[in-house]
Amino acid sequence: MPRTTTLECPGCPPLRALTFDSLGLIKVIESRVPQVVERWGDPDPSKCVLAASIDDRKKDPLLAVARKNGEVEAVNPLNGEIHAVFSNVGEDGVQPEDDAISGLHLFRRERPSGKALHASISVTKTWKVCGSGNVLCSKVDGSENYAVFGGKGVEVNLWDLEDCTKIWTAKPPPKNSLGIFTPSWFTCTTFQSNDDHRKFVADTNSHQVHLYDISAQRRPVLSFDFRETAIKVVTEDQDGHTLYIGNGSGDLASFDMRTGTCIYFD
């Protein structure tokens, strides 16, 4: 089965969901009669979609799609028209296939230029997020001033986007009682609510969920385990304290972050 990632349009029921897959297709699914309503693009595995980000404005909404061959497309989510295509080949000649895009965020302010947040590339500005290791996940907060990055061997860190400086780094967890040190491997991260840039959640490959508060301490404030496989995706709910988690063996759950209790599990 092709691997899929989904982005939901916030708003009223009935739902309309856009899904992207490893063949580069964009499908629109509506929930009135659950079925694929539209399909954009041709099946082309080199155009595998790696990341996507939507700016759902009332006027002229825009969807940015990052593909495997290094292209970033700006697409209209209502009818699939491609507005612009950027190419993301690095300045030092690094091929896009080796240096895959792992996160994408579309900025709402200013002009709709898709900014690919990646270890070293962006359209307007470039900076290195980490010295070594792979950045696997990134998220920009609601006010678009701050961004959090995490990855394999890369501790979670918070950057100020105006100054391009790192303002906060997490501390690696203390050694195990047996003395074994597991290197940190963050697979996904999100801010807990749109307004507060201080609290964010990062999930690891060893099925743990950490809640960090930069105003409190460098270690996670709350952390708990979720089943046995790596957690692949996390998103926050609009109410600011519910979190949805999905892991590698197909389990979905929602947690209340104020207490760390599981609300719903599938």
Partner: protein
């Protein structure tokens, strides 16, 4: 029980207003039901009497069924003799017939399926750009039936090599195999001195399929078995309908060379039924049999099927060789073996078994 009776009575009242014939039929049915209700075996508390009544009921049912069958066969014979067309036979209701509708069943005109097939990990082998080279190994403890099974597997799959497991980590073995240009890695897992699971890992970053192995019968235990030759076998994959089944079929296809030697008359079958994959290995031979005269046999050939002159029938005789076993897919993981950090495409969970008519392959 009282509720049912009341409902039945209500229905009876309603049907008084309908057709008289229908009314009579319903009445008859209800009478029968009442009769049966009187002597239901489950109402008898005494075990001996209960089992006697139950046995009697079953015997009656059996006799009735046999009578019906005889009557039907007699009718058919008579109709054939008279030259009329016999009544069409009714189709029995089976679990496969009444399988739950699955939306992931592959359709023949699905262009996304073809694009997926082109893009997946086995396309290079199936398009004959790479020849399959298999590495077989075992779990760390291996004894009794394990080695025998492996030696038979080595004869079934051409271009397979066996290496002892030692104490290597499976992830390290995957790396070594990649360096040596193997296309697949098979791990036979034994439990209690009996092989019970099969892990097929595609290389370099192919999917990992974990099968449960059961009902293993080795060649020496098969009556009248044959010995396999070293010709490339034909591969028969049947009944892999859904997308998941199709992908599993491709995993199995990538183990065997894509150029079968038809003259070698050797066939390997993977038949999927109700999510169980049955493995059989046969040698076959075509023979023509004349139904009137007695000279027959000895003719090898795939022709003479269209001959209508002397009632010759071409039949294929099979001789089983090699092991016989059943596989059931437990999980399919994207990427090479990584149970902790990997992403599973499909995992069998007990909560998926919601109905007896739901299958995934």
């Amino acid at each position: 029980m009282g509720g049912k009776r009341r409902n039945n009575e209500r229905e009876a009242m309603e049907e008084y207003g309908d057709d008289v014939e229908l009314d009579k039929k319903e009445k008859k049915k209800k009478m029968e039901k009442e009769k049966r209700r009187e002597i239901l075996p489950s109402m008898i508390k005494n075990k001996e009497k209960r089992s006697a009544v139950h046995a009697k009921l079953k015997h009656e049912k059996k006799v009735e069924k046999r009578k019906k069958l005889k009557a039907r066969d007699a009718e058919e014979k008579r109709a054939l003799e008279l030259g009329e067309e016999p009544l069409p036979r009714k189709i029995p209701r089976t679990i496969e017939n009444t399988r739950e509708n699955d939306e992931t069943v592959c359709k023949p005109d699905d262009e996304e399926l073809f694009a997926c097939n082109d893009a997946d990990e086995f396309s290079s082998i199936i398009k004959r750009e790479r020849t399959p080279k298999i590495l077989i190994t075992t779990s760390r403890f291996n004894s009794t039936r394990g080695p025998a099974f492996i030696s038979e597997l080595l004869e079934v799959i051409p271009n397979a090599h066996y290496y002892k497991r030692g104490t290597y980590d499976l992830k390290k073995i995957v790396e070594y195999a990649k360096k040596q240009d193997f296309t697949s890695l098979i791990v036979v897992h034994t439990k209690r001195r009996e092989p019970d699971a099969l892990l097929i890992i595609g290389l370099p970053d192919g999917p990992t399929a974990h099968f449960k192995l059961s009902r293993l019968v080795l060649r020496k235990d098969i009556k009248n078995h044959g010995n396999p030759t070293s010709h490339e076998p034909e591969l028969v994959l049947t009944n892999f309908t859904t997308r998941l089944g199709h992908r599993t079929g491709r995993i199995i296809q990538s183990l065997f060379p894509q150029e079968p030697n038809f003259r070698g008359r050797r066939v390997v079958t993977f038949h999927n039924q109700r999510d169980y994959i049955f493995f059989r290995h046969h040698r076959y031979i075509f023979e023509t049999k004349e139904s009137k005269t007695s000279d027959s046999k000895g003719k090898k050939g795939k022709d003479s099927k269209g001959e209508k002159i002397s009632q010759q029938k071409v039949i294929a005789r099979l001789q089983e060789c090699g092991p016989r076993f059943t596989l059931k897919l437990r999980s399919l993981q994207h990427g090479t073996f990584d149970t902790k950090g990997g992403e599973y495409e499909w995992v069998h969970k007990p909560e998926m078994d919601t109905s007896r008519r739901r299958f995934f392959l």
